[in-house]
Every structure is written in structure tokens, then in C-alpha cells.
Amino acid sequence: MDGPPAPRLVHTVLRCYPARWRRRHGDEAAELAALLIRDGAPATAIAGSYLAGAGRAWLTPRPGHRVSAVVCALLVAAGALGVSTGLLASAGPARAASTNRASTNRASSSRAGTHCRPSAPAFVPAVTPAWARPPLIIPAAVHDRSC
């Protein structure tokens, strides 16, 4: 049985659904919309319902995609950790140097009897942990020649 054609608005909204949904329900959904409009339902209400449904369809994770989403999240986390570790390793010696200079200045100023305003405490790593240090790479050719 062919129902009356659904209005253009409903067809446009149905295009917002994911392709897999449209393959499965697209024709039936258009026919259902046409039947409901024939029964007196406003086309805008039907289009609104389909639009909300399309949003839900995009947001609902597919069972097969959960594993890949977890893998992607782990890769992003690992990448972020690697970048922050690299930054920490490169900034470590510089911070340590500036800390030494500051403490030297503080010591000299206290010796001179001047008053300093206390500054906000800041975390300054005194020693770079082993896992944060950049790997030391020695080229094999140079190593062979020297030995």
C-alpha cells in the first residue's frame, strides 16, 4: 500500500539520520510520516520528532564502535602524556636554574637586611625523575670509532 507523499520538510529532516539508519528505516519512516500527516498530525511536529531522533541516533554509540572509541581515547591519552612528559623534561633544567638564581637572590637580600614580600608558593621540581628525562641517544658509528 502506497501512502500519500511526505512533505519536503520531513524528507529533508530524514537526511539528517546516519546512513545506516536511512538504509534500514528511511522508506518506512517517510511512509509513516505521510500516513500521520494524512491523519491530521502537523508536519512540523513530525519533522521535529524526527530531528530529535536523528540527534539521538548520532549520539548513540554502536556496539562495535565502543572498542574503537576506547582505543582512540587511550591513544589520545598516551599522546598527551608523551607531550607533557617531553615538555616537563625540557623545562626541568631551566626551572632548576631559575630556582637557584632566586634562592641566591633571596639569600643575598636577607643578608643585606631588606624585607621581601612573600610570593605565592609554586611547585618547582628539584630533581627531574628518571621517567621524565629525555633518552640519551649515542650514534652507533661514533661509538664504534671511539672504541
Binding site: 539508519w21 509513516l32 548513540t60
Partner: protein, 114 residues
């Protein structure tokens, strides 16, 4: 009310968080397979609720993913849906749970004299 009890064994109420639309669809399918338009008409008649088509297809997809309903093969554009055995069991558990809540509510209203 998350657990229903049948034959002395606890069964989880999988429909507790499934939403009203999912429960209404299962109730409508309990007496035989129906397609989308028939489901909307039947639910309007039995519960006075007008399900939007977007809500209907969202609930149908969710129920199918949970294995509580299945789509029947057809040459037509319309797909009839049928409740499965796990779907019927889940509906029974959920209705039992609702009955207990309903009975407790009525009793308390009576005791409270409201």
C-alpha cells in the same frame, strides 16, 4: 524496584531505565507483531500517549539491540516487529514491579486517609 522475583529467583528489571516508550511498545507487541503505524495507533488507544515517529524508531532500535524485539522479514517497506521470549520475560518482570509499586501506593494512600 530494580529486581523482579519469579520462581524464587531474582531477575533484573532491564526495562526500569528503558523509558516509557519502550515499555508501551512491548505492551503493544505482546498480543502480536505490528509495524510502526499500527504501533502508534495502538499505543494511542491503549495508553492515550501519542508517540512521535522519531521516538518510536529510537525505542525500536534500542529494544532490538537489547534482543527484546525482532524485525520480521517482509517484501513491503514496512517492517513488522515481534516481541521475543526475553522481551516477554522482561515485560513480565517490569509489570510485576509496577504492580508492587501500585499496590503499595494505594495502601499508603488508604492508611494516610488522603
Amino acid at each position: 524496584m530494580a529486581i523482579g522475583k519469579r520462581d524464587g529467583q531474582a531477575e533484573p528489571d532491564v526495562l526500569r531505565r528503558a523509558g516509557e516508550a519502550s515499555v508501551l511498545i512491548l505492551v503493544s507487541l505482546a498480543d502480536g507483531p505490528k509495524h510502526g503505524y499500527a504501533l502508534i495507533q495502538d499505543i494511542k488507544e491503549l495508553a492515550g500517549v501519542e508517540l512521535g515517529p522519531g521516538t518510536l524508531y529510537g525505542a525500536l532500535d534500542r529494544l532490538e539491540r537489547l534482543g527484546l524485539i525482532e524485525s520480521l522479514p517482509t517484501d513491503d517497506r514496512r517492517h513488522p516487529y515481534r516481541i521475543t521470549a526475553p522481551g516477554a520475560a522482561a515485560l513480565r518482570v517490569h509489570l510485576d514491579s509496577l504492580e508492587r509499586v501500585s499496590a503499595a501506593g494505594r495502601l499508603r494512600l488508604q492508611l494516610g486517609g488522603i
